[in-house]
């Protein structure tokens, strides 16, 4: 841990830059240089954020979105890791599914909403399943790659020392693939947020995406900015928080996504 004075000396520009921007914005929109209809003053936005938080609106919507992310991420993670491991270990499955994945993966997840809503009941369940689609492919894809990149020598050494079946899996294959699985999960979680917001915009009446879209439709511009701020905060928390968590819990696991 460095002395706070030195830390400040190194990072003062990074801190000063947003502060200056907010001050200029505040000034420009107070004096009418920026149209306050489109760019309300940051202090007004903060006040609206505060109001939304006080009357509970923000918490309900945030909780709804978080619950959806939780469900769809769990669904994607369990299925994605399982299918990914199976694909990594069993070649025919990999050969068979690779082309299917290649076609489906680049399709934006929102487009799956119609199909999903034909299969499962519309509403929350369709929303959660749609959100899980892209994360699933991402996690399965990275997990497969994680198993594939394990050094053959390591596997052969383990085989020579008599590791078979479950033992081989838990002591060699799983730890070997773990960095990739973790990266897949982190990216998948990030995608869950992106897709859940998009799907909420299209089809939900609750959740942060819905709040943002409804605020736009009734032109509550301040609420739009406030909601955007919360979504951004959630995004930062999910991506940087998870990276910090990994550094603390699994310090030996490099994040292969940091390139």
């Amino acid at each position: 841990m460095k002395a706070p004075g030195r830390w400040l000396a190194e990072h003062w520009i990074t801190i000063a830059s947003p502060v200056v921007l907010l001050l200029v914005w505040e000034w420009a929109s107070t004096t009418g240089r920026l149209r306050a209809v489109f760019f309300p003053r940051p202090s007004t936005i903060a006040a609206h954020l505060f109001d939304l938080a006080l009357d509970g609106t923000l918490w309900t919507h945030t909780a709804t979105t978080l619950a959806r992310i939780g469900w769809s991420f769990s669904l994607a993670a369990v299925l994605g890791v399982a299918v990914g491991l199976a694909m990594g270990l069993w070649r025919p499955l990999r050969d068979g599914l690779d082309p299917v994945f290649a076609v489906i993966y680049p399709i934006p997840s929102v487009l799956f909403l119609p199909m999903v809503s034909f299969i499962v009941p519309a509403g929350d369940i369709a929303l959660v399943v749609t959100t899980a689609v892209t994360s699933f492919f991402l996690i399965a894809f990275t997990t497969t790659h994680g198993v594939r990149q394990i050094d053959r020598l390591v596997v052969e050494a383990a085989l020579h020392y008599g590791a078979r079946g479950r033992r081989l899996f838990t002591t060699v294959l799983l730890p070997g693939a773990l960095p990739f699985i973790f990266t897949g999960l982190r990216l998948g979680l990030g995608f869950s947020l992106i897709v859940v917001v998009a799907v909420e915009i299209v089809s939900a009446s609750r959740g942060l995406g819905a709040l943002l879209w409804l605020s736009w439709q009734v032109l509550k511009v301040e609420d739009m900015y406030a909601t955007f701020f919360v979504i951004a905060l959630l995004g930062a928390l999910l991506s940087y928080g998870l990276a910090a968590l990994r550094a603390r819990l699994l310090p030996w696991v490099p994040d292969v996504g940091d390139r």
Binding site: T14, P99, P108, L111, F118, A198, W216
Partner: protein
């Protein structure tokens, strides 16, 4: 081997749909979808919708790449620039870019500029970050060698820094194009009145499912061609790059 499973899935789907094990109303047989696809292409409207999406994609990509690459390079080489810009990148990068759409809609009005710029924004941040990473992770020995041989200023940039960062820039452009497509199609689905994304939405609302699947398949094909094509291009153009990565 690679074709067996997709073909098997399609045949199974065909049979299930023909014998009404799957409701043909929601899951029309692949051959039906294929005929509709061919028919719509012949009529010209599917092609023109695809052209709309591709035109938007071209504008969105150009508007993102042209400022993003210089900014990323500048950030990589000049620390004060990096310090000033970094907090915004860190704040906006993890945000779903589709949330920028309502802001652009009120500022620019409902129309092409707002749609295209939303697509742009998702590519922009990806390209800046990849470019920056490319400059920052370059082997410092390359710089030393370049300097020792008397390269500095523009010469150092053109001969050493840019070639070293090029693979990362290309990766950024490739990922950015994919992101722009995904975001644009989502924007079309949500709020535009044309393009492949809107086609899926409209036929969903009208429950004309064969047309819906046809548009859906076209989006998939477009994504596949773009991602695969660019990967092949990258492997061919940047032969000094060892690993293309995911």
């Amino acid at each position: 081997m690679g074709v067996v499973v997709p073909v098997a899935v399609l045949v199974l789907w065909e049979l299930c749909s023909r014998f009404a094990i799957l409701s043909p109303r929601y899951f029309p047989a692949p051959t039906t979808i294929g005929w509709v696809l061919a028919d719509r292409f012949a009529a010209g409207d599917l092609g023109s919708e695809m052209l709309v999406t591709l035109t938007r994609l071209a504008f969105a990509f150009a508007l993102a790449a042209i400022p993003a690459v210089p900014l990323g390079l500048l950030m990589g080489m000049v620390k004060p620039v990096r310090d000033v810009v970094e907090p915004y990148l860190a704040f906006i990068f993890p945000v779903p870019k589709i949330t920028l759409l309502p802001f652009l809609l009120i500022i620019l009005g409902v129309g092409e500029p707002a749609f295209v710029l939303t697509g742009s924004s998702s590519a922009f941040f990806q390209i800046v970050i990849s470019t920056l990473a490319g400059v920052q992770t370059m082997d410092p020995r390359l710089l030393d060698v370049g300097r020792n041989y008397g390269a500095h200023g523009p010469r150092l940039f053109w001969k050493v820094i840019l070639p070293a960062a090029l693979p990362a820039i290309f990766t950024g452009l490739r990922l950015g194009l994919g992101l722009a497509l995904v975001t644009l199609v989502a924007v079309e689905f949500i709020s535009a009145k044309s393009g492949l994304g809107h086609l899926v939405f409209r036929h969903w609302q009208m429950l004309s499912t064969p047309e819906m699947y046809a548009a859906f398949a076209l989006v998939g094909a477009l994504g596949l061609v773009l991602t695969r094509g660019l990967r092949a291009l990258q492997a061919r153009v940047l032969t000094w790059q060892e690993d293309i990565g995911v």
